[in-house]
Symmetry: D2
Subunit: 408 residues, 4 copies
């Protein structure tokens, strides 16, 4: 915006209400619209938003696809942990994990875990299930009708598949599971969404399927999401059936390695895991049985343009430590890890670079290979974090690490 | 780093292993250390990390307190939703919410909710509980010993208080609750941490208390965190007892307002809420009974320098819609919302500006007032998100909004 | 035992340890063995067990199949509630429910619910799923091995079916679902067990399948039950996937009927249900969203020779109250109801009579019809209990009923 | 009823509807009323109920306090397991457990566990908490009002105590914890109910308190039970806060003893417990982490006149197996065990005898001592069941035991 007085003109219109804050992009190029909006908000709140304005990502696409009413960008520091040797079916080799975080000690902690894993030869990792879901809820007239609806769904899978797949170039329909609660009927639709995390794709396909079910059965569609999906709420259905990727990573550590890296011993790692991650979580009525899976998932997700609210799903991980001859086998299982390498925030410049660091930017060959490789890397990173925190707790280092590194 | 050849020299040392990646800050000023590290990683991964390097936050403090092994920063777009009228005990007035997000439609969705709330006169919001926790786990010799440990803890609260408060200038000890599972004894310590989210403060104080308990009872300290805290895992103990702030926000909407803003009616809002948020979540074995609380919590948390892994706690919100004469009363309750306005990522330039937009940057007067005001604002923002998504689902707009706005 | 001195002789041997308490049936007919054992225990404990000895059930089969070390029988009062009109696919007509209980007010409460349902034309009831499960747990060597085991299971369903069905005359193998947690691999096997509750049948078949899996994959069998079955522990897997019968019952009540029978109104029923059964249970971190399902399940189960520990599964019911024009539609959904009409305690004289009252004693035609009819009746009975308690709470009668009827 | 023609007369009146089934006791002595009712039901259902009529418990009190509409009694076989050495604070010495069950193998299984425990010197057992609860739910006008209600409750504990204790001779008010979910306010009231299980006592006291709260705050009482009690639904609130007795029992077993009694070794017991009871239950989304706690609780509860629906609470037990030098320490923790030795079904002849076998019939000295002793015995019995099943699974005996003993 060459002509700064113009800012004042737009701000005047915003103030008098003749222009809506969200409508600025209709009158100005994105960069200018953002600048006007930021100036307006700075004025209203009496807060300088100067630093928020110092972003360098290209915003043409961002304002259309990622963020409405944009006023700038926050900068989240990215640290690197690694090298981490990953031995998956899709991710193979050495990786450096980009971790976007403001929580002191986290990168150092993950880094220490990466070191232990790599010295032990790498993290074995496998994907056990891969399906994104959406579960519309319908109202039936009564219990008899509810049964008829479910029978119809079970008996017309090919029609449903055809209708669902008509909405998407990449997605594949995998099937449905149904639940009833009185007159509420839930149809949980599962899709292979390839390299996309896939919520959008699945929602659109589910809308078509929901219309079909409603038309054929007389069910009344209440909501495209009936919370049996379950999106971004901790839910056992995702633990039991999986959502996104179900993935597990493990590594065997010798007694010597445990002593050297973690200054504790294998038996202590096992005992800490049982009393904290298993029995402690049980006693807490928890759905997550791990030490800090959410920390690692959040840091990688923010760095790599994933949906950060999916940290909720990631937090349901289970960490296990098996005594084995001469050491321990430590593993982490993430029942529900929704990730993608296309769509969402993955295309924003800085996030794209972070995916690039891992060699998984954009669509994979064959389709889905990048998202799967990414899931394997995330799980291996979570394993690093678990190992490291279990080790630190075993050695009673936690408080001191915090003191030194200033986590608030 | 004026002298670019020097970069090559450091990179050479990193490659040959004579210099550790994390040790760069010992030899170079932070900015240069980051530049060398980024160049090294770019070389190893074959990925340009140019955009990651274009940050403008000041890093002297960041590399010490927020992020080790830093290579740059991701830029997360920040949109604004508002004005949102909040009627709390600490936050009073009109607010514009900074939402850091890459998920299209989210800001627009929250914005619509803010509009509805503000037109209805604002969100009533109250804090019901305020305590940050840490729960060390001890091993007892046997059941009899476990009982003795718990009796000692219950009988020596003043000693525990004195020891705990000796470690902190601001924090206040609130009490302990104990749990036993066989020989594992959990002591959940609660603190008022004022304007800090307080995990660090509480961990340090708990280390002292844990040493005291171990010394006095012969209990063997297994881990400073026994997962009954419960930090960053979905856990009923946080729903039942609270962790961080327990806060609820509500607003009454008239039938006319519901129709006008949401293109649906009050009865539909209530039905969607029951069948989706209550019955659907129940049928899913969920610990969260809401539509999209995690989305709003994540976006505000990332903007404002909070710990994003605490989205897990935020996702356990319960949304309720009561039919009232002439409309509905919609409310959201967050049993566990850990927030702070000092410490953690709150001091980073861009994040500080976002807190500034809300008038809650830094410590409040009296101490704790800023963190409480911030919690009230977050809860009101979550209410806006709930209202808006319930409305959209009621009007079956979800799929279309996604199509238009490109959420992936 | 004609010769009472003989009792003394056996007691002498028991006291001196030359005869084991459990071995009496090897020396004496069941009735005599029971008498001797009771006398011995009476002597040791100084408590007359005279009334325990006044049973009249025939014990030849009982001592072999139902109860070791028998000393007598407790008598549990049986009340009757009804008539209850049931409109199921298997149970059709008027029923009188036998309720074995010592909790005052329960029979009266269910009876009132039956009256309301019958006056409204009867309970609609449908079975949505029917499968008994057992889930052995195996140890894999590592994550890679875990994946191989699961792949083998998924790829060899016909072999598994053949091996499983080779152990049972009546049971049919329905399929398997698998879960992994680190190196622990769970294979949840599902069977149609016809008129038997089926735990025994399923355990035997699962032992064969477990041996097969272990032999073919090198998996190490840890336990025939890995708790993903899940038997007699509250578990979301049973809510999500079902165990035993998944069954729902519902009825529409007019405003007039609600007022007349329950002295409250339809709106109050709906509000009590939302605030208590839905929101209250959510806030409690519950897996059951009902008022008193366990009471009714327990009373019918004890009367009808079911396994009373399965009350746990029954307690996960969800009760819903939908406002409809002119009244409410009230429903209860039991995701997991394990029942049988053959095997277990169903053949004991008094229990057999209670099943006979319902017309479902013994095997049905076709096989499974009796167990399904019984499940439909139980669900309808639970609906009666829910209706009645919701009504009483609505009318604030609970405390007074307790005062009058003496529940302790 | 000397004059049998009279039966026909009453049955005629029942058939023509001039006499209600539940009103028979108003016209006839209990025994006769039961006989008429049974004959009437036998006629309607075409099922002989002869055996149901062969009860010998005295019914004068039963028909008033335990069971309405009585038609007879089921006879549940009672087996005995023991001796079991218990080393509690209230129960000390050798006990024989009365187990009312129809599930073959259960008594034998518990018996084997008792043998192991007793040979190891007995079960250490302690009660950690003791409080019966009731949680009325109120509707507030809005969030502000909700906060006022909770503030009032917290600020008027002495008034609440005084009102509550005015309703009961034995009960003592222990305190309240509050929860809010939107406009629903839950006040969980805790009482020491001495030797009574106490639900009745607590409900009556809570009704008074609820009236007080409503009168003082303008809160609208919705239901005397708001499901945060939580009664007979699996709920984390009971795990976290306890309900009834919180009790744990443990025993150390040497390697030799494990081998001798269970034909397996200590390491296997520990591994089975981790993979099944801890990790398996975690993966199942369970609230119970045990092998068969519900079986033992159900069998003792039915024998001893407890409320069998409270098996739900009992099923949330956690079983732990710690490796110790030369063996294992095995423990079971029951967070929520509601029991009583007066009231409910405890006074019925046969049930009273079972309590008598344990030396805990009727009220204790001091008040509460009998119920506490009983809780200690139940927990020790559950420990026996856990040990035995873990041992059997370890030795892969489960299927064979079932085959032999005919559990259906």
């Amino acid at each position: 915006m060459a002509d700064t007085p113009a800012i004042e003109e737009y701000i005047r219109k915003l103030k008098e209400g003749s222009l809506k804050l969200y409508a600025l992009e209709q009158h100005l190029p994105p960069g200018d619209a953002i600048r006007v909006r930021r100036a307006y908000i700075a004025g209203l709140t009496g807060s300088s938003l100067m630093k928020l304005g110092e972003f360098t990502i290209s915003v043409d696409r961002v304002v259309k696809r990622n963020c409405e009413n944009m006023i700038g960008a926050v900068q989240v520091p990215v640290g690197v942990a690694g090298p981490l040797i990953v031995k998956g079916e899709y991710a193979k080799g050495e990786y450096y994990l980009p971790l976007a975080t403001t929580e002191g000690a986290l990168v150092a902690s993950v880094n220490r875990g990466c070191s232990a894993i790599s010295r032990a030869g790498g993290a074995e990792v496998r994907i056990f299930r891969d399906a994104m879901t959406r579960a519309p809820v319908f109202a039936a007239n009564d219990i008899v009708h509810a049964k008829e609806i479910i029978d119809w769904v079970n008996g017309h899978q090919e029609e449903i598949r055809s209708r669902a797949e008509g909405t998407t170039k990449h997605g594949r329909y995998l099937g449905a599971s149904t639940s009833v609660a009185g007159t509420s009927v839930y149809v949980r639709l599962e899709f292979d969404t390839k390299d996309a995390m896939g919520m959008n794709m699945v929602t659109i396909a589910s809308a078509e399927v929901a219309d079909l079910i409603a038309a054929e059965t007389g069910a009344r569609l209440i909501s495209l999401s009936g919370n049996l999906c379950t999106d971004k709420k901790p839910a056992a259905v995702n633990v039991v059936r999986g959502r996104g990727k179900t993935v597990a990573a493990g590594v065997e550590l010798s007694d010597d390695l445990v002593r050297e890296v973690f200054k504790t011993d294998a038996g202590t790692l096992a005992e800490v895991n049982v009393r904290k991650n298993l029995v402690g979580s049980a006693r807490a009525g928890a759905l997550g049985f791990n030490a800090q899976a959410a920390n690692v998932v959040a840091a990688i997700f923010i760095a790599c343009g994933q949906d950060p609210a999916h940290v909720v799903e990631g937090s349901t991980a289970i960490t296990t430590v098996d005594p084995v001859p001469g050491g321990v086998y430590v593993a982490v299982t993430l029942p529900s890890l929704p990730v993608g390498t296309v769509g969402g925030g993955t295309g924003i410049d800085t996030q794209l670079e972070c995916l690039g660091m891992l060699g998984v930017a954009g669509g994979g060959v064959p389709p889905g290979a990048h998202a799967k490789a990414f899931a394997e890397i995330v799980a291996s990173g979570v394993l690093a974090g678990e190992l490291s925190l279990l080790g630190a707790l075993g050695a009673q280092h936690l408080a001191r690490a915090h003191t030194r590194l200033g986590r608030g």
